[in-house]
């Protein structure tokens, strides 16, 4: 990261139009057969954007339906399919892969000073596997959907549901392999591909968080894979694995499912925590306070997250002693999360903060993640959970974290690295407006749901008692605002591809190896492998920002 590395890695200004990874080769084939981690990241970005739209449409229809107590739009059966589709698509095909496969793919090799990931062809293969999973899911959605909820609870899923549970489970199974391969690739890359001088404690915190999520990918995903396989076999062959009539135990399914799916919620949040560390450092122009605490808290979260799954089963008939233990462990997992929030806040203190769009997302993240995390503690307390479990309070809790925090960070990250990825700047004013709209729309949508849940409105019903209507209408109104907030960036980001001003290598004056090479980077990222001589976030020596306002 020394200045010499910067100069060596930029072609001189007078040279021909830059050759970069985007214009090095043209044509559909050059994309579909690419092994360049940056192009693969973009392939993923397109894929998960499509899935996000699909999941979003389902959510829109649900919210419209809930405008009226009797259901304004669809039959209850259809409603069941809508929330199942929404959950499955958003969790497994958008949020779990989101930051790792797009920004992670793009940035990990760049941030550690490598030419590519350790296994580029495996990387492409995992995109193909993921795309296959998406196609199976879309096929299921188009041919009647599935109505089990994203949790596939038995015996409903194995015995009673009349929808295409097996294919839906297969799509998750397939997508899971893509996660596993990505996880393996990331861990090996981070271990073996670091540039000379890039020691573990000079790594950007984004890398630490990707490393922690990759651990969960590798150790968690196979368990959901085998669980879904068992479910499929039970359903197809009518043999008893989870069926109590045949000696099976439906609770075993829940244990296996949550053994993956609780860590999976941390797959969704850990990468976003990494993004936030980068954003906060860059826009308060300070080294992250307590770097090593933030780094190790990622690992702590990854490890403890494997030990708390039982908090999803407090009221499913798990023993009271198991409940106690899981409750305590769930409180423990909140500690490393809180460590991060405190450290980010301390970083802001006396920083020279500037409020570019990515920073607005980061600040939004801090607030929303705090609310989401704290309400998690209500749910992790046995006695309050008995009242709140299965209500909209749970829905609000996890949306505060998964949408409020994780998607905010995803948007913030996309905005931060967009100039690096595409070489173009987007209109910052619009970006800030959109960030504000998203923040407001999000709170309008989900805060009422805390209240609804506390008052006792159960989740997953197409209808509700009339007294809940006002809050439900408020929530739907908020959802429309939120939708507008998502559509605006979609438009100006695409606009910027053609009309956005040229970004230059480092428009935000940020530290980090990826900013020392041209934008967009050349295919091999660096003209010469950089030699790292300093800590991450050394903003004392940082260049001044050279942002061109649009």
């Amino acid at each position: 990261m020394s200045t010499t590395a910067t100069v060596e890695n930029l072609p001189n200004a007078s040279a021909e139009p830059q050759v970069n990874y985007l214009n090095a080769r043209y044509g559909v084939k050059s994309w579909l057969l690419t092994v360049d981690h940056k192009r693969i990241g973009l392939l993923y970005l397109c894929t998960i954007t499509v899935m996000f739209v699909v999941g979003g449409i389902a959510a829109t229809m649900m919210r419209i339906n809930l405008l009226e107590p009797q259901g304004a739009l669809v039959e209850p059966e259809t409603y069941n399919k809508l929330f199942s589709t929404h959950g499955l698509v958003m969790v497994f095909f958008f949020l779990v892969p989101s930051i790792p496969v797009t920004l992670g793919n793009f940035l990990i090799p760049m941030m550690i000073g490598a030419r590519d990931v350790a296994f580029p062809r495996l990387n492409l293969l995992s995109w193909y596997i993921f795309a296959t999973g998406c196609l199976i899911m879309l096929y299921v959605v188009c041919t009647g959907g599935v109505d089990t909820g994203w949790t596939f609870y038995t015996p409903f899923s194995t015995t009673y549901s009349t929808t295409d549970v097996v294919l839906a489970a297969l799509s998750i199974f397939v997508a899971g392999f893509s996660s596993i391969l990505t996880g393996v690739n990331f861990i090996v890359t981070i271990h073996k591909m670091r540039a000379p001088g890039m020691t573990w404690f000079r790594l950007p915190l984004f890398i630490w968080s990707m490393y922690a999520s990759a651990i969960i990918f590798v150790l968690g995903t196979p368990v959901i894979a085998i669980t879904l396989l068992l479910l499929g076999v039970e359903r197809l062959l009518h043999v008893g694995i989870f069926d109590p009539a045949l000696g099976g135990d439906p609770l075993l399914f829940q244990h296996l499912f949550w053994f993956y799916s609780h860590p999976a919620v941390y797959i969704m949040i850990l990468p976003s925590m990494g993004v936030i560390s980068e954003l906060i450092a860059a826009f308060s122009r300070k080294r992250i306070f307590g770097y090593s605490f933030v780094a190790f808290s990622s690992l702590a979260i990854a490890i403890i997250s494997f030990l708390v799954w039982g908090h999803h089963m407090f009221v499913s008939g798990e023993s009271i002693y198991a409940g106690l233990v899981f409750s305590v462990l769930s409180f423990l997992v909140a500690i490393p999360s809180a460590v991060k929030v405190f450290n980010w806040t301390a970083t802001l203190y006396k920083g020279s903060i500037s409020y570019e769009a990515p920073m607005l997302y980061a600040l939004g993240f801090l607030g929303l993640f705090t609310i989401g995390g704290l309400t998690g503690l209500y749910l992790a307390s046995l006695s309050t959970d008995v009242h709140l479990s299965g209500t909209y309070f749970v829905v609000a809790h996890f949306h505060y974290i998964m949408v409020g925090a994780a998607v905010m960070a995803f948007m913030g990250g996309i905005h931060f690295w967009w100039p690096k990825i595409t070489g173009h700047l987007y209109p910052d004013l619009w970006a800030r407006i959109a960030a504000a709209i998203i923040f407001i729309g999000f709170n309008l949508t989900f805060f009422p749901q805390f209240v609804l849940g506390y008052l006792g409105m159960p989740r997953r019903y197409a209808m509700y008692p009339a007294e809940f209507q006002a809050l439900n209408v408020l929530s739907t109104a908020g959802a429309s605002v939120l939708a507008v907030g998502y559509i605006i960036p979609f438009i100006y980001l695409i606009w910027s591809l053609k009309y956005g001003p040229v970004a230059g290598p480092n428009p935000f004056g940020a530290k980090g190896l990826e900013w020392t090479t041209q934008s967009p980077p050349p295919t091999e990222n660096y003209l010469k492998i950089p030699i790292v001589t300093e800590e991450a976030y050394n903003y004392e020596t940082a260049p001044e920002p050279e942002v061109v306002r649009v």
């Binding site: 073996k192 591909m193 008893g240 694995i241 000696g247 135990d249």
Partner: protein, 225 residues
């Protein structure tokens, strides 16, 4: 970067562009395989968990179920797999010590044959037999009177048996496929005493599949003793 390190200037075969040194590429491949095996352990781990839970819930039925299996074939197959692990290790050893490619292939082929023997015994004398005897869940499983009220759980035992051995067999088939590729690569002279990482990494996989069997054999066949 040590002096002896092989870099791109030397351009030996099988050296991928993203790496700086051949050693780095070896290490990466090996670490990747170990991680993949960790995944596999958790994959089978789900089944082992299910097996443990249900065996402790229905010990009697699992005992009855294990009587359906023929220890003879299980034992022969265990021996076959252990031998195949030995031949696999010898194949790697001969590459490492710079033996001619004939020597390497001379160990790879018996490895494949032993793997195929395992599969043949499994399909022909165990699964096919179960199918004929109506002890294959989902394919006309027949509740024998002597099982009494335990019959559904005996079926569950057989479910786990087919699931675990089926997945294991699938891994064997993949392994034989990998060995075929390795044989082809060896015959093209791809491996030297400097570069034999694919052999070594595939060896890890092959041994892993064997070890899974070493756990399956007592859990499924031997619990009746």
């Amino acid at each position: 970067m040590s002096d002896a390190a092989i870099t791109h200037g030397d351009n030996p075969t099988g050296f991928a562009h993203q790496f700086e040194e051949l050693d780095q590429q070896h290490d990466a491949g090996r670490l990747g395989m170990w991680l993949f095996l960790a995944t596999e352990i958790l994959f089978f781990g789900g089944l082992f968990t299910g097996y443990t839970v249900y065996r402790s819930l229905h010990p009697q039925a699992f005992l009855l179920g294990s009587h359906i299996l023929e220890v003879k074939y299980g034992a022969i197959n265990t021996a076959v797999l252990i031998c195949s692990s030995f031949t696999m290790a010898m194949a790697i050893r001969s590459a490492q010590t710079g033996k001619r490619k004939g020597a390497i292939i001379g160990w790879l082929i018996p490895t494949m044959l032993l793997g195929a023997t395992f599969l043949f015994l499994k399909f022909r004398f165990e699964w096919y037999h179960d199918y004929l005897e109506h002890t294959m869940p989902g394919f006309g499983f027949y509740y024998r009177p002597e099982w009494g009220a335990h019959a559904p759980q005996v079926q569950m035992f057989m479910c786990f048996y087919f699931f675990m051995t089926g997945l294991h067999a699938l891994h064997m088939i993949v392994g034989i496929g990998i060995l075929l590729v390795l044989t082809w690569m060896t015959s093209r002279g791809r491996f030297t005493s400097q570069y034999f990482a694919p052999l070594e990494i595939s060896g890890l996989y092959w041994h892993f599949v064997d070890i899974i069997w070493i756990f399956l054999f007592p859990l499924l066949y031997l619990i009746r003793f």
